[in-house]
Amino acid sequence: MNLIVNGESVETKAKTVSELLAERGVTNRVAVEVDGHVVPYDEFSGYTLREGSHVEIIAFVGGGCG
Protein backbone atom coordinates (compact mmCIF):
# COMPACT_ATOMS: atom_id res chain seq x y z
CA MET A 1 0.00 0.00 0.00
CA ASN A 2 0.93 3.62 -0.26
CA LEU A 3 1.64 5.81 2.76
CA ILE A 4 2.85 9.37 3.30
CA VAL A 5 5.85 8.99 5.60
CA ASN A 6 7.41 12.20 6.91
CA GLY A 7 5.84 14.05 4.01
CA GLU A 8 6.99 11.68 1.27
CA SER A 9 4.98 9.11 -0.65
CA VAL A 10 6.15 5.59 0.19
CA GLU A 11 5.15 2.20 -1.22
CA THR A 12 5.27 -0.42 1.52
CA LYS A 13 4.43 -4.00 2.38
CA ALA A 14 4.34 -3.17 6.08
CA LYS A 15 1.04 -3.78 7.82
CA THR A 16 1.88 -2.33 11.22
CA VAL A 17 3.96 0.49 12.64
CA SER A 18 6.61 -2.00 13.80
CA GLU A 19 6.88 -3.50 10.34
CA LEU A 20 7.19 -0.07 8.76
CA LEU A 21 10.01 0.89 11.12
CA ALA A 22 11.80 -2.40 10.43
CA GLU A 23 11.39 -1.97 6.68
CA ARG A 24 12.91 1.50 6.85
CA GLY A 25 15.79 0.41 9.05
CA VAL A 26 14.72 2.48 12.04
CA THR A 27 16.10 0.81 15.13
CA ASN A 28 16.29 3.90 17.37
CA ARG A 29 13.66 4.66 19.95
CA VAL A 30 11.27 6.86 18.01
CA ALA A 31 7.88 8.49 18.33
CA VAL A 32 5.21 7.76 15.74
CA GLU A 33 2.09 9.63 14.75
CA VAL A 34 -0.47 8.15 12.35
CA ASP A 35 -3.06 10.52 10.90
CA GLY A 36 -2.55 12.87 13.81
CA HIS A 37 -2.89 10.11 16.41
CA VAL A 38 0.09 9.55 18.67
CA VAL A 39 0.89 5.84 18.85
CA PRO A 40 2.37 4.76 22.21
CA TYR A 41 5.68 2.94 22.02
CA ASP A 42 4.25 -0.32 23.33
CA GLU A 43 1.48 -0.36 20.72
CA PHE A 44 3.70 -0.17 17.64
CA SER A 45 3.44 -3.88 16.83
CA GLY A 46 -0.32 -3.95 17.15
CA TYR A 47 -1.08 -0.71 15.32
CA THR A 48 -2.42 -1.44 11.83
CA LEU A 49 -1.65 0.94 8.98
CA ARG A 50 -4.19 1.87 6.31
CA GLU A 51 -3.81 2.89 2.68
CA GLY A 52 -2.99 6.58 2.34
CA SER A 53 -2.23 7.15 6.03
CA HIS A 54 0.05 10.01 6.99
CA VAL A 55 2.80 8.69 9.22
CA GLU A 56 5.31 10.83 11.08
CA ILE A 57 8.41 9.13 12.45
CA ILE A 58 10.15 11.37 14.96
CA ALA A 59 13.52 10.69 16.57
CA PHE A 60 15.38 12.26 19.46
CA VAL A 61 18.31 14.36 18.28
CA GLY A 62 20.96 16.46 19.94
CA GLY A 63 19.57 19.76 21.09
CA GLY A 64 19.25 22.02 24.02
CA CYS A 65 19.35 25.68 24.68
CA GLY A 66 21.76 27.86 26.57
Partner: protein, 259 residues
Protein backbone atom coordinates in the same frame (compact mmCIF):
# COMPACT_ATOMS: atom_id res chain seq x y z
CA UNK B 1 28.41 20.35 52.90
CA UNK B 2 24.96 19.46 54.14
CA UNK B 3 22.71 17.66 51.73
CA UNK B 4 21.26 20.31 49.47
CA UNK B 5 19.08 18.38 47.06
CA UNK B 6 16.18 19.97 45.28
CA UNK B 7 13.03 18.47 43.92
CA UNK B 8 11.62 18.91 40.42
CA UNK B 9 8.53 17.04 39.37
CA UNK B 10 8.87 14.68 42.31
CA UNK B 11 12.47 13.83 41.40
CA UNK B 12 15.20 14.59 43.92
CA UNK B 13 18.27 16.07 42.27
CA UNK B 14 21.66 16.71 43.80
CA UNK B 15 23.23 18.28 40.69
CA UNK B 16 22.12 21.78 39.82
CA UNK B 17 23.57 21.75 36.33
CA UNK B 18 21.32 20.68 33.45
CA UNK B 19 23.02 19.87 30.15
CA UNK B 20 21.96 20.19 26.50
CA UNK B 21 23.14 17.79 23.79
CA UNK B 22 23.18 20.06 20.73
CA UNK B 23 26.09 21.39 18.69
CA UNK B 24 28.85 19.13 19.97
CA UNK B 25 31.66 18.74 17.42
CA UNK B 26 31.56 15.00 18.10
CA UNK B 27 28.65 13.26 19.81
CA UNK B 28 31.03 10.75 21.30
CA UNK B 29 32.04 13.52 23.71
CA UNK B 30 28.57 13.61 25.24
CA UNK B 31 28.93 10.72 27.73
CA UNK B 32 32.15 12.24 29.11
CA UNK B 33 30.57 15.71 29.18
CA UNK B 34 27.62 14.38 31.18
CA UNK B 35 29.91 12.44 33.51
CA UNK B 36 32.22 15.41 34.16
CA UNK B 37 29.30 17.80 34.59
CA UNK B 38 27.66 15.51 37.13
CA UNK B 39 24.37 16.47 35.49
CA UNK B 40 21.24 14.44 36.21
CA UNK B 41 18.99 16.21 33.71
CA UNK B 42 19.77 16.17 30.00
CA UNK B 43 17.75 17.82 27.25
CA UNK B 44 17.25 16.54 23.70
CA UNK B 45 15.21 17.73 20.73
CA UNK B 46 12.86 15.87 18.38
CA UNK B 47 12.99 15.87 14.60
CA UNK B 48 11.65 13.83 11.70
CA UNK B 49 13.73 10.77 10.94
CA UNK B 50 15.67 11.31 7.72
CA UNK B 51 14.27 8.71 5.29
CA UNK B 52 17.56 8.56 3.39
CA UNK B 53 19.86 7.69 6.24
CA UNK B 54 19.60 5.71 9.41
CA UNK B 55 20.55 8.42 11.86
CA UNK B 56 22.79 8.20 14.83
CA UNK B 57 20.76 7.68 17.97
CA UNK B 58 21.38 10.50 20.47
CA UNK B 59 19.85 8.40 23.22
CA UNK B 60 22.72 5.94 22.96
CA UNK B 61 25.02 8.71 24.21
CA UNK B 62 22.87 9.57 27.21
CA UNK B 63 23.24 7.29 30.23
CA UNK B 64 20.10 5.66 31.63
CA UNK B 65 20.53 7.15 35.09
CA UNK B 66 19.80 10.74 34.02
CA UNK B 67 16.39 12.31 33.53
CA UNK B 68 15.68 12.85 29.86
CA UNK B 69 14.07 16.23 29.26
CA UNK B 70 12.89 16.44 25.64
CA UNK B 71 12.29 19.99 24.43
CA UNK B 72 9.75 21.37 22.00
CA UNK B 73 12.25 23.38 19.97
CA UNK B 74 10.85 24.25 16.58
CA UNK B 75 7.36 24.82 17.96
CA UNK B 76 5.88 28.19 17.02
CA UNK B 77 2.73 28.01 19.13
CA UNK B 78 1.13 26.10 21.98
CA UNK B 79 -0.57 23.61 19.70
CA UNK B 80 2.70 22.53 18.11
CA UNK B 81 4.43 22.32 21.48
CA UNK B 82 1.66 20.13 22.89
CA UNK B 83 1.91 17.85 19.86
CA UNK B 84 5.69 17.48 20.25
CA UNK B 85 5.30 16.81 23.98
CA UNK B 86 2.78 14.04 23.38
CA UNK B 87 5.03 12.50 20.76
CA UNK B 88 8.04 12.64 23.05
CA UNK B 89 6.17 10.90 25.85
CA UNK B 90 4.83 8.23 23.54
CA UNK B 91 8.39 7.03 22.90
CA UNK B 92 8.48 5.79 26.47
CA UNK B 93 11.28 8.01 27.76
CA UNK B 94 9.43 9.61 30.65
CA UNK B 95 7.10 12.55 31.09
CA UNK B 96 9.40 15.55 31.45
CA UNK B 97 9.03 18.24 28.82
CA UNK B 98 10.79 21.54 28.33
CA UNK B 99 8.42 23.91 26.58
CA UNK B 100 10.27 25.97 24.01
CA UNK B 101 8.04 28.08 21.76
CA UNK B 102 10.07 30.44 19.64
CA UNK B 103 8.18 32.12 16.81
CA UNK B 104 10.95 34.69 16.44
CA UNK B 105 13.72 33.26 14.28
CA UNK B 106 16.33 35.98 14.79
CA UNK B 107 16.62 35.91 18.57
CA UNK B 108 14.66 32.71 19.29
CA UNK B 109 12.80 34.57 22.01
CA UNK B 110 10.07 32.58 23.70
CA UNK B 111 6.39 33.45 23.31
CA UNK B 112 5.31 33.67 26.94
CA UNK B 113 1.59 33.68 26.15
CA UNK B 114 1.68 30.50 24.05
CA UNK B 115 4.04 28.95 26.59
CA UNK B 116 1.47 29.50 29.31
CA UNK B 117 -1.25 27.90 27.20
CA UNK B 118 0.93 24.86 26.46
CA UNK B 119 1.91 24.56 30.11
CA UNK B 120 -1.71 24.61 31.28
CA UNK B 121 -2.63 21.89 28.81
CA UNK B 122 0.35 19.63 29.45
CA UNK B 123 0.11 19.81 33.23
CA UNK B 124 -3.47 18.57 32.86
CA UNK B 125 -2.12 15.65 30.83
CA UNK B 126 0.29 14.67 33.58
CA UNK B 127 3.56 16.04 32.21
CA UNK B 128 6.34 17.48 34.32
CA UNK B 129 6.47 20.83 32.56
CA UNK B 130 9.51 23.11 32.53
CA UNK B 131 8.77 26.20 30.46
CA UNK B 132 11.48 28.32 28.82
CA UNK B 133 10.40 31.95 29.16
CA UNK B 134 11.30 35.59 29.07
CA UNK B 135 11.79 36.48 32.75
CA UNK B 136 8.43 38.17 33.25
CA UNK B 137 7.23 37.89 36.84
CA UNK B 138 3.56 38.22 35.94
CA UNK B 139 3.71 35.32 33.50
CA UNK B 140 6.00 33.33 35.78
CA UNK B 141 3.40 33.48 38.54
CA UNK B 142 0.77 32.27 36.10
CA UNK B 143 3.03 29.40 35.09
CA UNK B 144 3.51 28.49 38.72
CA UNK B 145 -0.26 28.61 39.27
CA UNK B 146 -0.69 26.40 36.20
CA UNK B 147 1.48 23.74 37.81
CA UNK B 148 4.83 24.22 36.08
CA UNK B 149 7.49 22.13 37.84
CA UNK B 150 10.05 24.92 37.37
CA UNK B 151 10.35 28.18 35.49
CA UNK B 152 13.25 28.55 33.09
CA UNK B 153 14.04 32.16 32.21
CA UNK B 154 16.63 33.14 29.63
CA UNK B 155 19.77 35.01 30.62
CA UNK B 156 20.36 36.04 27.00
CA UNK B 157 19.31 34.67 23.60
CA UNK B 158 19.85 30.93 23.04
CA UNK B 159 23.37 30.09 21.99
CA UNK B 160 24.65 33.65 22.37
CA UNK B 161 27.04 33.00 25.29
CA UNK B 162 26.29 36.57 26.41
CA UNK B 163 25.54 35.81 30.02
CA UNK B 164 22.97 37.14 32.47
CA UNK B 165 21.66 40.12 30.53
CA UNK B 166 18.30 39.76 32.24
CA UNK B 167 19.82 39.45 35.71
CA UNK B 168 17.53 41.88 37.56
CA UNK B 169 14.39 40.27 36.18
CA UNK B 170 15.59 36.77 37.02
CA UNK B 171 16.24 38.03 40.56
CA UNK B 172 12.56 39.00 40.80
CA UNK B 173 11.52 35.45 39.89
CA UNK B 174 13.88 33.99 42.47
CA UNK B 175 12.48 36.34 45.08
CA UNK B 176 8.83 35.76 44.33
CA UNK B 177 8.34 32.21 43.06
CA UNK B 178 8.06 29.02 45.05
CA UNK B 179 9.01 26.71 42.18
CA UNK B 180 12.67 26.30 41.19
CA UNK B 181 14.05 28.98 38.84
CA UNK B 182 16.45 27.51 36.28
CA UNK B 183 18.38 29.87 34.00
CA UNK B 184 18.00 28.28 30.62
CA UNK B 185 19.80 30.23 27.91
CA UNK B 186 22.67 32.59 27.29
CA UNK B 187 25.10 31.48 29.97
CA UNK B 188 28.50 31.53 28.32
CA UNK B 189 30.99 31.29 31.17
CA UNK B 190 31.26 29.30 34.36
CA UNK B 191 31.42 32.60 36.27
CA UNK B 192 27.97 33.49 34.93
CA UNK B 193 26.59 30.13 36.04
CA UNK B 194 28.18 30.79 39.42
CA UNK B 195 26.53 34.20 39.58
CA UNK B 196 23.11 32.75 38.76
CA UNK B 197 23.56 30.30 41.61
CA UNK B 198 24.75 33.04 44.00
CA UNK B 199 21.50 34.85 43.20
CA UNK B 200 19.51 31.88 44.40
CA UNK B 201 18.58 30.21 41.16
CA UNK B 202 17.89 26.53 41.73
CA UNK B 203 19.88 25.37 38.71
CA UNK B 204 21.21 26.38 35.30
CA UNK B 205 20.97 24.73 31.91
CA UNK B 206 24.08 24.94 29.74
CA UNK B 207 24.65 23.68 26.25
CA UNK B 208 26.37 26.02 23.81
CA UNK B 209 28.97 27.28 26.29
CA UNK B 210 30.18 23.71 26.76
CA UNK B 211 29.62 22.42 23.22
CA UNK B 212 31.38 25.39 21.59
CA UNK B 213 34.33 25.29 23.96
CA UNK B 214 37.70 24.06 22.69
CA UNK B 215 37.55 21.31 25.29
CA UNK B 216 33.91 20.48 26.10
CA UNK B 217 34.75 17.80 28.68
CA UNK B 218 37.03 20.11 30.64
CA UNK B 219 34.48 22.93 30.34
CA UNK B 220 31.75 20.65 31.68
CA UNK B 221 33.86 20.13 34.78
CA UNK B 222 34.44 23.89 35.08
CA UNK B 223 30.68 24.50 34.99
CA UNK B 224 30.08 21.80 37.54
CA UNK B 225 32.53 23.43 39.94
CA UNK B 226 31.17 26.93 39.27
CA UNK B 227 27.60 25.87 39.96
CA UNK B 228 28.62 24.20 43.20
CA UNK B 229 30.63 27.26 44.27
CA UNK B 230 27.75 29.60 43.49
CA UNK B 231 25.27 27.45 45.35
CA UNK B 232 27.56 27.23 48.37
CA UNK B 233 27.95 31.02 48.35
CA UNK B 234 24.18 31.45 48.24
CA UNK B 235 23.72 29.12 51.18
CA UNK B 236 26.48 30.92 53.09
CA UNK B 237 24.81 34.29 52.45
CA UNK B 238 26.70 37.05 50.68
CA UNK B 239 28.03 39.93 52.77
CA UNK B 240 26.51 43.39 52.31
CA UNK B 241 27.67 45.74 49.55
CA UNK B 242 28.73 49.24 50.67
CA UNK B 243 29.61 52.40 48.79
CA UNK B 244 32.53 53.37 51.02
CA UNK B 245 35.38 51.49 52.57
CA UNK B 246 34.84 49.79 55.87
CA UNK B 247 38.04 48.65 57.53
CA UNK B 248 38.32 44.98 58.20
CA UNK B 249 41.31 45.54 60.51
CA UNK B 250 41.15 47.35 63.88
CA UNK B 251 41.41 51.18 63.57
CA UNK B 252 43.38 51.56 66.79
CA UNK B 253 46.93 50.73 67.88
CA UNK B 254 48.65 51.65 64.60
CA UNK B 255 52.39 50.94 64.71
CA UNK B 256 53.24 54.53 63.71
CA UNK B 257 51.42 55.78 66.85
CA UNK B 258 53.63 53.79 69.20
CA UNK B 259 55.85 56.08 71.25
Amino acid sequence: MVVDDFIVGGKTLSSRLFIGTGKFPDRRLIPDVIAESGSQVVTVALRRVNPESAEDNILSYVPDNVVLMPNTSGARNAEEAVRIARLARSAGCGNWIKIEITPDSTYLLPDNHETLLATQQLVKEGFVVLPYVMPDLVVARQLEDAGAAAVMPLGAPIGSNKGLKSRDFIAMLVEELSVPVVVDAGIGRPSEACEAMEMGCAAVLVNTAIASSENPVKMAKAFSEAVRAGRRAYLAGLGPVRDKAEASSPLTGFISSLE
